[in-house]
Amino acid sequence: MSQQIKIKRGYDIKLKGKAEENLQEISLDKYAVKPTDFHGLFPKLSVRVGDKVKRGTLLFFDKHNEYVKIPSPVSGTVTEVLRGAKRKMLEIRIESDGTDEFIDYGKQEIGSLTSENVTQKLVESGLWSFIRQRPYTVVANPSDRPKAIFISGFDTAPLAANVDFVLNGKEKSFQAGLDVLSKLTDKVYIGINSKTTSPALKNAKGVEINIFDGPHPAGNVGIQIHHISPINKGEIVWTVQPQDVVAIGDLFLTGQYISDIIIALVGSEVESPQYYSVKRGSEIGGIVGGKVKTEYELRYISGNVLTGTKVKLNGYLGFYHNLISVIPEGNKYEFFGWLIPSPKKHSFYRTALSWLTPNKEYRLNTNLNGGERAFVVTGSLEKVFPMDILPIPLIKSIMINDIDQMEQLGIYEVDEEDIALCEYISTSKIEMQDILRNGLNMMRKEMS
């Protein structure tokens, strides 16, 4: 039973630098995996600096949840374990040796497998880490049986990679991945929109396909869950990203961790934005080198401009990211910037001029455009937050650490990416994603 759902509330921020649908392969020497990509993970190394690893060798695991294991994307040598303040583990760096040796986990016919077989193989290979749970957006616990698994088949975030394009030619692996995931739950849902062309998505078998149309965040899996099967207290759903479904499928079809991923390099400062085929964990500099404008100081973001992680040129692509955004830094004073109605500024509000040019693509920088204030303006966050949840009361309940209130106001359903637009349009410049993450961490600790 497929539903067609129109998401009315939301907002598309149109930015310069959308990727052209060309694909180029890049192979690099430097890779890394980052424990910081996983919420609430306490990393423990399985390898040492100098060790030889193959593609698929497990590099580290979560001390508290040993089913979270992270595999190496390439064969090579562990060159460095980068640590930050308080010896926090930031990156495990690997230099490729070009031999592409891999660990063979063995091909398997999916149809005959039980959910235990599937779980065991995924955990053993580390690919389990692609499956995350709501609430909290952390790696799923294999001993749970979720009420459903959700996959969003389109991405509405600014300059997001086109899922149709990245799945092109991977129909077989994608369907295999879906077959695997179907073993783990009673129901797998795919959300597509009416422009979706990919046969992998549209003709997917053994799943329920729902159609969502509307502005960002309609493509967020959390919004789709909310409209199909909202998460109540005590319930768990799992989510997987489309290219990660492909990797899971490949594991069963080939017996290997195929770490290739198609990413988009986008943003106003990229000379010719397009798609690249790389391995997961690639070094940012290796991908963007020579492809960006150099007249300004730049910010490199693994992920999209609303939710991504700031990275340096010698940083690495995030585990769950298929996008690198490059925008100018905004570390400049602007004379009467709040007063002068500049056509370069973009705003959700009609107090600026950008509503006059709704189709213009903007080149936005990282300036905060103001100082942090208490909540003053009301009634606008709801317009970009298409859930039956009151955003300001929820954020306020987190600010005062009121666990009961957070639960009552629906924190289980929300992830940072779902309120990223609220944060963008906040005239009080309140760091809502950070506040929400604190609330989720607090909640998770309380519930465990």
């Binding site: 109540n232 500024k345 959700f348 760091e431």
Partner: protein, 386 residues
């Protein structure tokens, strides 16, 4: 812009923590951010941010007040010359009005911002822009003859006890500008009512009563509806011209700064109460006020000004969308109720809005609770099905 930046850059090290003039840090910060949007960049969360900040939002409200302010300036002048029986040109009236209102504006901003900056300094916050709006609202809702010291006392009291003790802009329970008006009204009633206060340097022979005072006294307002709309009659400085206020309303609604829900429901509430009172006019022929056509209520006194600029203050209003309907409706309803049925107060808008300010958290509580109950019901339904 470069010279200003240079001066600011020169002063900046002097006001940092530990430096000699650290006590002026908040003052400097307010000045710096007035001239320049800071070079601060995003460090967490979204990497890009909306181009509109609190300053621009608040500034839009000030812009919306300009028509009422300009009309008020002219009205002060023309009422003065008219009462004296002196012929005057347009510019004479403007000039006279400007000279009369400027000290009020300066005192309002000077005292209020001074206190805000001092509190920001002691708390280590940035100076909030809330008083940007309040400071301009205050002169518009008082009689032109208000002594400056009274205004200073009331502003100081309202900002400290109405706002800063709660934590500053965004945390206050009642509208600071209205609180100033209320303090003046109750502390210095003789300077706030009667027929002498509304016209600057009025000739004694000239009647300076407001239409509301006439109506309360059982007379007719003495104005045609067109005259009520234009607003060339005695009253608080910015409240008389419904047309000027309507221009402000259009600006606020178009930019979305004020909630159309609150504004609409306030006028609907006022109109409903006036219609109810009209219904009883036949039963109580002594009270001629009851018989005033309902829609004329919206044109006189502070109703329009209150409905456009006061009740729509997002901090003191209900903050939930459903709550806004209830909040505005009862605000308008009570305003007309007090205005007509309480002989002690010729106007009820100020008290009605202050009253609803206090009730808005309660309204929100029930709206939020309904949302919570809905979620709990969904969870329970699920439990029963399994």
């Amino acid at each position: 812009m470069k010279p200003i930046r240079n001066i600011l850059d020169k002063i900046k090290p002097q006001v940092q923590k530990g430096a000699k003039f650290h006590a002026f840090h908040s003052l400097f910060d307010a000045a710096e951010t007035f001239f320049f949007v800071p070079d601060a960049v995003t460090t967490k969360g979204s990497h890009i941010r909306d181009g509109v900040d609190m300053k621009r939002t608040m500034f839009t409200v000030v812009i919306a007040m300009v028509p009422a302010l300009l009309f008020g300036i002219w009205n002060i002048g023309q009422m003065h010359f008219k009462s004296q029986g002196i012929d005057f040109e347009l510019m004479d009236a403007f000039l006279y009005g400007f000279i009369k209102i400027l000290p009020l504006i300066l005192v309002s901003y000077g005292v209020g911002l001074g206190i805000e900056i001092a509190f920001a300094q002691s708390r280590g916050h940035e100076v909030n822009e809330g008083f940007f709006v309040s400071g301009m609202l205050i002169p518009l809702i008082i009689p032109v003859t208000t002594p400056l010291w009274m205004l200073a006392v009331a502003v100081a009291f309202a900002v400290v006890f109405g706002k800063e003790v709660f934590g500053g802009t965004g945390m206050n329970i009642v509208n600071p500008a209205l609180l100033v008006r209320a303090i003046l009204f109750f502390a210095y009633p003789s300077a706030m009512s009667g027929d002498k206060v509304w016209i600057a340097e009025k000739a004694d022979a000239f009647s300076g009563a407001t239409p509301l005072a006439e109506l309360t006294a059982g007379h007719s307002a003495g104005l045609s509806p067109i005259e009520m709309m234009i607003g060339a009659y005695p009253g608080s400085i910015g409240e008389t011209s419904t047309i000027a206020i309507a221009i402000g309303a259009i600006i606020l609604l178009f930019t979305g700064v004020a909630s159309w829900k609150i504004m609409t429901s306030f006028f609907v509430g006022g109109l409903s109460m006036a219609l109810i009172l009209n219904f009883f006019a036949g039963s109580f022929p002594d009270n001629t006020y009851l018989a005033l056509p309902a829609w004329e209520h919206l044109l006189i006194g502070g109703f329009a000004f209150g409905g456009v600029f006061m009740i729509t203050d997002p901090v003191t209003a209900a903050q939930t969308e459903k709550g806004k309907w209830i909040y505005g409706f009862f605000g308008g309803l009570i305003a007309i109720l007090v205005r007509v049925l309480n002989p002690a107060y010729p106007e009820g808008v100020m008290l009605a809005i202050l009253f609803m300010n206090i009730f808005s958290p309660t309204i929100d509580y029930y709206v939020i609770d309904a949302n919570i109950k809905k979620r709990m019901k969904r969870a329970k339904l699920l439990l029963n099905n399994n």
